[in-house]
Symmetry: C2
Subunit: 152 residues, 2 copies
């Protein structure tokens, strides 16, 4: 896999947005990429404890920067933990995320054909620069199997 490639890309994007590249930011981005699912700032901070003590403040700031640079995305679809910000790593180009409602596993979903919809919304509403925030939710095969097994 391209472990180094997407990290380099992420750091390049930080630079392109006028932000410096620091060891802490690299580590936060790596931990975010390696996370099993949408992860919060505090969980990331805890995950980073072993190797190095990175301050919570830095984690919060870095997540905001990464989101600004398009390297991280703040998941909106979580119905539980409504007031907790969770992020996923975003590599490559435009895509969206499918989140399991039960175990919170995340899959990237490419090729949303929504560019034309954005243009259509612009036409109908008069708004400019219309874009979209889109998440998919569902039940992953594993959780679906468990649920059907538990059915009474």
């Amino acid at each position: 896999m391209d472990d180094r490639r997407d990290m380099a890309l992420a750091m390049d994007r930080l630079l392109a947005h006028g932000h410096a590249v620091t060891p802490q930011r690299r580590l936060v981005a790596q931990a975010l990429r390696d996370a099993a699912g949408p992860i919060s700032a505090q969980e990331l901070s805890a995950a980073l404890e072993p190797g190095r003590g990175i301050g919570q403040m830095t984690v919060y700031r870095t997540l905001a920067l990464l989101a600004d640079a398009g390297v991280a995305y703040q998941i909106a679809a979580t119905d539980a933990d409504r007031h907790l910000a969770r992020y996923v790593f975003c590599s490559g180009s435009h895509h969206h995320h499918l989140v399991c409602q039960t175990c919170h596993a995340v899959l990237e979903v490419g090729g949303c054909g929504m560019e034309s919809v954005d243009r259509d919304v612009e036409q109908r509403t008069g708004f400019a620069g219309v874009g979209h925030h889109l998440d998919f939710v569902g039940t992953c095969p594993a959780c679906a199997a468990v649920a059907s097994g538990e059915g009474h």
Copy 2:
């Protein structure tokens, strides 16, 4: 307009979800519907002060219930005020919201043709019961005019 109709529908949905209908819940739902834009629990609480002092706790709980019943929707597209939950009133059937990034004005956008996309995602991923959370963001005509006027 159908002021009474959508309130009655909202209360019916509460009942359908096993929740009682109370004067407080009616007032919260009305205030939410009459709000100019996405509104937070505390702003709703303040807006309700004049007529009647409704406890903040009730406002929070009612918003959660309304969201559960599909009568309220928690906007996710707000980049500012990241850690503040804002809700909009949802009447009728499936639709989405277009939010101005500057003034936070909200427009309902109907007819997203995403049912087929949901099915397609199910096919490609094996997930079951796939649905979507979708918000549009953009700049409303008024804010676009101000921005171009300020351009140096």
